[in-house]
Symmetry: C2
Subunit: 215 residues, 2 copies
Amino acid sequence: MSDYILHEFFRSSASFRVRAALKLKGIDYAHRSYKLRAKEQQTDAFRALNPQALVPTLQTPDGPIGQSLAIIEWLEETHPAPPLLPPDPRGRARVRGLAYMVAMEIHPLNNLRVLQHVAGELGQGEAGMAKWFRHWVAQTFPALEARLAGEPDTGRYCHGDTPGLADLCLAAQVMNNRRFDIPLDDYPTIARIYDALMALPAFAESLPENQPDAI
Amino acid sequence: MSDYILHEFFRSSASFRVRAALKLKGIDYAHRSYKLRAKEQQTDAFRALNPQALVPTLQTPDGPIGQSLAIIEWLEETHPAPPLLPPDPRGRARVRGLAYMVAMEIHPLNNLRVLQHVAGELGQGEAGMAKWFRHWVAQTFPALEARLAGEPDTGRYCHGDTPGLADLCLAAQVMNNRRFDIPLDDYPTIARIYDALMALPAFAESLPENQPDAI
């Protein structure tokens, strides 16, 4: 029985971030999968772990932890090697800033419940939903590309040659973009980093299509 | 001349978080204000500091830092006292998780550019925009209230009796809610914590109406 149980959904990009972080850190974990469209996570048993009934949630020896980036910061503090943040405060601020460009400016607007709300309650339909998704990627990806292309701290990955927090968020977003056919032609640095990340088993093995519950 | 210059907008709730964090830490700073509706931040000079031309951005001896939570984590690492995160990883995960419930689930859906997009491009108008704002608060505030009311780690503030990262996010959101007349009757614990926070000069002095550029 593993000390760690990840409650997740194969297609959830926040679940992807945590899967890849656990694999980068070499932490063994068991997992439970939920089909969000079928609301399988809406049970009393799961609410006892996470009152919001949101995935991902990681059961740990420290108790259950929700919110993908809170999980990843906890993993970084309790399992420092290999690091997902650089050692210097300036570098850490850069990596967190890049991560939040995705995690606070794109992803919250483009997750399943928001897309369903835009398509349904706001009457935008499937086409309007796709337009909405692409709009918010297009609002932030040019600035993300400009920073990654122009800043000397960028290396093989977002920050130097060690994959970290910003890479987890970037890879999850590019992966998610595939569902809406967003080409990366205008984002050559993002594309280069994504390809480099997908050459790492921790990232490739975390893709939705490589999960046992993928449908 | 201060070592710190905060580029901000008086009404921005992300700017509020950073103002209150600087004051809690007792860090002197100068500030530059921008009227976002007039796009005053869209200048080459400001883009040189932040390619996204977003507030808040903090100029520091370590260079300019964007993204409110990246700034606050940097402040915590470089000015540890008084702390904005508890010392133990479990407590830190709880505080970050509570902070992200606001900062990743509510705020990104309710900031100015999203509200303008919903009202304009999506044709929802002013009434639809207000409904949208209230919808996303109502999606997360009940779970936030339940956690704060039910978890033994809650104290005078979100986590014990020391104001921290979760309080910065909670106070900024409640402050923002005032613009859409969202009553706190169903959220007594959130209301109690907000009142306790506003009894602190660092929080009260950071309110929009107490900024020199308030209009």
